[in-house]
């Protein structure tokens, strides 16, 4: 077990070999580059629609004493949503396909890679994609004037952390899917998260009872973190958001690894 990748000091998980899964995915994805490139247009469409339409209807909002345009308020929330969807959808759909339909991992496990490497490798892949899409999103934000401050650059690591949290949970979730029909459950979770995580309007507009639920939503954690980073208004609470997302990812990953073991090498 050479060069063990240490996620936390007490826990060694996976190895450097997990990067070969990333390499494999890049190789397999090469043929689909138009799909990949087309993904870069999505933030442009969303931000453009927002800028044309709602921005002037809503006007400026007060965020932590700062007056910001509606587009600047929503854009980080949309980046968080996009990172969530990217992480979850890629994990769930593609990994389900590999796990249960095309059986891609089975020959891999007869090589020095083990189940943890496979799970971790898929996470690397999600993070890579997440980082690329987040970069394009942040560039679009900057171009359309929706970036609150130069600190918007810090949204990149923030978005990657969001991808991590959701990709790991998605990875765990996909092992529980029995057939494609179960995938409707995914939207059943992500859509309410998307609509009720203070992405479109501030937490203060929710009824109190709902607001106290909303703050526990992982997407709320991410959106609030990214909004703070984009506006350059830093606070200690951000560390809580970071910790929340990080722990969520770790829990998802460890569940995923255990489930992978049961499915792939029972």
């Amino acid at each position: 077990m050479n060069s063990v990748l240490r996620v936390t000091p007490s826990l060694s998980f996976g190895s450097r070999r997990s990067l070969y899964i990333l390499e494999r995915n890049i190789m397999a994805y090469k043929r689909q580059w138009p799909v990949f490139v087309s993904g870069f247009f999505e933030p442009l469409f969303y931000l453009l629609s927002l800028g044309i339409g709602l921005n002037s209807l809503v006007g400026h909002l007060d965020v932590g004493g700062q007056s910001v345009s509606y587009a600047a308020f929503v854009a980080p929330g949309m980046l968080a949503t996009s990172s969530m969807n990217g992480g979850v959808i890629d994990s769930i759909y593609n990994v389900f396909f590999k796990l249960k339909v095309s059986h891609v991992y089975e020959p891999v496990l007869s090589t020095p890679l083990d189940v943890n490497d496979v799970a971790l490798g898929e996470v690397w892949w999600s993070l890579t994609r997440g980082a690329l899409y987040a970069t394009s999103f942040i560039i679009c934000m900057a171009l359309l004037g929706d970036a609150g401050s130069p600190w918007v650059i810090l949204c990149l690591p923030g978005a990657v952390l969001t991808s991590f949290a959701f990709a790991c949970v998605g990875l765990a979730a996909c092992t529980y899917m029995r057939s494609w029909q179960d995938f409707d459950t995914v939207t059943l979770v992500t859509l309410p998260l998307f609509l009720f995580s203070a992405t479109f309007f501030p937490l203060s507009l929710y009824p109190t009872w709902l607001a106290s639920i909303v703050i526990f939503s992982p997407l709320y954690q991410s959106a609030t973190l990214l909004r703070g980073l984009s506006l350059g208004s830093f606070s200690w609470v951000m560390l809580v958001h970071v910790a929340y997302l990080f722990v969520m990812g770790l829990v998802g990953l460890s569940v995923a690894a255990r489930r992978f073991q049961r499915i792939l090498a029972p």
């Binding site: 070969y20 190789m27 020959p107 020095p112 090498a265």
Partner: protein, 303 residues
């Protein structure tokens, strides 16, 4: 490789029931058995993928539980089903698989070229795997298992789906590997294959090993030297078993014929005629591993 009391349970179902065997380096060892006998579960354990429920297993003197990656680095595995990446090209399949073994790109490229030659797939190198025929896929899977130049090659029904030409080509390659000192572990349904390839083999049934030995030894031990096959006209519903039984060591009545297990088939045939029994046709042949197999595991379909 040493296995002691190796057991594998799936829930309450016991797939492998405390089997023990030793496979010395350089030997070619076969696992025979009907579907569901526990062969594939055993293969998955000895390829350091699945963990045994209980028992001891050591491969290259290492413990698969702790040294899985190190063991698998020296193993080649041909699974029962072709598990190729259908979306990738033939060449990319090999290149990627070689990378999993920590091999550098240039080394993998070189070996891939050679193995494509071996698998007679050089012309198809840039085709998507999805477009290959069944036999080609099988050949590629076998080529893939040789990328890391394994010391131990595990083949789970390697020639299922291959045409006779490809089968003989593979046997030839396996002989060569064996003479290079590679240990072979093979499961197969084809008895001729087992007789050809295996120095030693075990017959498994319901998770147990029911016989063990060299193919010839097993035949001597569990069958007679020759078999006399007698066919009767289709209107004879009950062949004269009472008259035949005393003539053979063992007798088996099948829907279309009667098998007499004897030392000398020609002698027995004369005795049959002398007893006044007149079959439509008679065939004398040597006992094969198939006779042993069917005797030990029964003729009824398992699944």
């Amino acid at each position: 490789m040493h296995a002691r009391q190796l057991t594998k349970d799936f829930g309450t179902f016991r797939a492998v029931n405390g089997i023990s065997f030793d496979i010395p380096r350089g030997e070619s060892f076969g696992f025979l058995g009907p579907n569901g006998a526990g062969k594939t579960s055993t293969m998955r354990m000895v390829s350091a993928v699945a963990r045994p429920t209980s028992g001891e297993l050591s491969i290259f003197g290492l413990d698969p539980h702790h040294d899985g990656p190190a063991i698998r680095a020296r193993l080649g595995v041909v699974p029962q089903e072709d598990t190729l990446e259908l979306e990738l090209t033939v060449l990319d399949n090999l290149l990627m698989f070689g990378r999993y073994f920590d091999l550098s790109r240039s080394v993998v490229r070189e070996r891939a070229k050679e193995l494509l030659e071996f698998a007679k797939l050089t012309e198809r190198a840039n085709d998507k795997c999805d477009n290959l025929s069944g036999g080609m896929k099988r050949r590629l899977t076998i080529a893939r298992s040789l990328l890391n130049q394994p010391e131990l090659l595990i083949l789970d029904e390697p020639t299922t789906g291959l045409d006779p030409q490809a089968r003989h080509l593979l046997w030839e390659r396996l002989y060569r590997l064996k003479s290079d000192g590679v240990t072979l572990v093979i499961t197969t349904h084809y008895m001729d294959e087992a007789e050809q390839l295996c120095d030693r083999l075990v017959v498994m049934d319901h998770g147990d090993i029911v016989a063990e030995g060299a193919p010839r030894a097993l035949i001597t031990q569990h069958s007679t030297r020759e078999v006399l096959e007698l066919r009767f006209p289709s209107d004879v519903t009950t062949p004269p078993v009472d008259m035949l039984a005393p003539l053979a060591e063992r007798l088996e009545v099948l829907p279309d014929r009667v098998l007499l297990y004897v030392h000398d088939g020609d002698d027995t045939l004369r005795a049959v005629h002398a007893a006044g029994v007149t079959p439509v046709s008679a065939l004398v042949r040597r006992s094969t591993l198939e006779d042993v197999f069917l005797r030990l595991t029964g003729r009824t379909l398992v699944d």
